[in-house]
Amino acid sequence: MNRVTQYYPILPVLLAYAILFIVGQTVSGTWQLVATLLFYCAMGQAFNIFLGMTGYVDFGYVAFMGMGTYGMALAITRLAHLPGLGAVVIVIGFGLALLMATLLSLAVGAVALRLRGAYFAIATIGVNEGFRFLIEGARIWNGAEGMIFTAQLVNIVGSERASRLMTYWADVMVLAIAVLAAAVTLFYMRNRVGYALTALREDEDAAKVMGINVTKYKIIAFITSACFAGLVGAASWALKTPYVFPPEVFEIHYTVEAIIIVMLGGAGTLLGPIVGGLIYGISKYYLSIFLPGLQLLVFAPIIIVIIVMFPEGVVGVLKNRTRNTALGRFII
């Protein structure tokens, strides 16, 4: 395998996103659906870098998306009155989103990554909820009232462009984030980080005596994952829907959705989050259209059956089946 062929698996990823993009562009009425699917894929892609590659379950993951949302929201609300900044504010917003997600992930990592298993999961739930109530209780960033800032966004980029941003460019940004997350995932997989993470996921103690600094690599994965989550929050929440309410951006439900997406597709695989995101998003969409009000009733048993029957997920199974075939070079 040479330097080029080892990056072949990015091709099906790019193909999947390209098809999604083209469908959204050409088939009328599907762009917003595609946007939602992209959101699920991006969220899965970002989460997979930590959950899939290390095997640690972070139940407070949504907090990083919340941080990203706040980062963008703060940039827009605090800088809207400055003249001449224009779209630079958005760039600053992304920067702030990254910064805040990184800071939170460092704090959480320092505390929670010492724990394993159920204790880690519960600790991360604690961080998420605790942080939300700190924001509400101490009235940080407007407390529970949150911020509504469509008007400021219009102020900054103009009303036509703001509208285009909210309904189109924000989704394209999510697409870019998803592709970037996939690329980083593959890059990690092909480099020391990926090898180290595979080793520590499979057997943390054995990995240690192989010379792997497990803490360092866990934190690398954690921060990378958090950064992408922050970007997803900034684009898909703060820009697509210019408001932020703490109970919504810390809603634990999103963490669960991310876990389901990763599990459905196959934890630790490159293509998994896309497949998982598509299956999850599309089936939810059509269930909500054909069986309005009953979709969760249908969905819950499906999840249970899948967990019991296919613990490796769709791509996991596919990967094992196609290993050492021509197709297998593209699927990881």
Binding site: Y195, A199, E202, D203, D205, K208, V209, M210
Partner: protein, 245 residues
């Protein structure tokens, strides 16, 4: 002197698992560590590879004091290890498994992925696993897993290889093969090998230059193999003398 333990003691609560053990291992030497279950062999191994830090004493490897060095820093110095029940990274291929050893465990420490894979291929050939190179390690037979683990350790280019019950769980027919192989590799790569065994088996006798016998955490005998086997204390530990108190 490659490895030197000086009065190493490790306690768990009130239990003294390793009791003031001192020993020395030369470069390229093949040493057997024997002792019944619970005699402290595994704990001693864990102190050398860094899973535990001893309460007392000092461990010097290659003139570096490693007593309180975290395990991931010891590996690149040249300490490799295999486990009693093989613990390969099951979802990764054999090649990836071995490459991990080269990537993180070698002395230079910063070997690129490509180079590691090349080294892995070389090591895989050495241990004769070519046919299984791209299989997931989890799907191998126990012997193949064991070999994968050994290859992974060898790829670390260790100066010292700690082998934990290398032969346990193997079919008798495979053992001779394995013994011959380890012997050849050790000589070829100039690796000091410390093999931990419950009992001084034929396999060990054929290989080891010296044997260290542990009993209840303390060193009982440290002598060339034949001498150690003839030692009455060893026979007592293994066969026991109920009349003696």
């Amino acid at each position: 002197m490659l490895l030197k333990l000086d009065n190493v003691t490790k306690r768990f609560g009130g239990l003294v698992a390793v009791d003031h053990v001192s020993l020395e291992i030369e470069r390229g030497q093949f040493v057997g560590i024997a002792g019944p279950n619970g005699s402290g062999k595994t704990t001693l191994f864990n102190c050398i590879s860094g899973v535990y830090f001893p309460e007392e004493g000092q461990i010097v490897f290659d003139d570096i004091d490693i007593t309180r060095m975290p395990p991931y820093k010891r590996a690149p110095l040249g300490i490799g290890r295999t486990f009693q029940i093989p613990r390969p990274f099951s979802s990764a291929t054999v090649r990836e498994n071995v490459a991990v050893g080269a990537m993180f465990g070698t002395m230079s420490g910063q070997i690129s992925v490509q180079e590691s894979l090349k080294m892995a291929d070389h090591t895989i050939e050495l241990v004769g696993l070519q046919a299984h190179r791209d299989k997931a390690a989890g799907s191998l037979t126990p012997v193949e897993k064991k070999m994968t683990e050994i290859a992974r350790a060898l790829a670390m280019k260790p100066k010292l290889l700690l082998m934990d019950e290398a032969m346990a769980g193997m079919h008798p027919n495979d053992i001779d093969e394995m013994v011959a192989f380890i012997k050849r590799i050790a000589r070829q790569e100039k690796i000091a090998i410390v093999a931990m065994v419950e009992h001084i088996m034929r396999a060990l006798v054929n290989m080891a230059e010296k044997v260290i016998v542990l009993h209840q955490g303390a060193k009982l005998v440290d002598a060339p193999t034949q001498e150690a086997l003839a030692d009455p204390r060893v026979i007592e530990v293994y066969l026991g003398h109920p009349k003696e108190t």
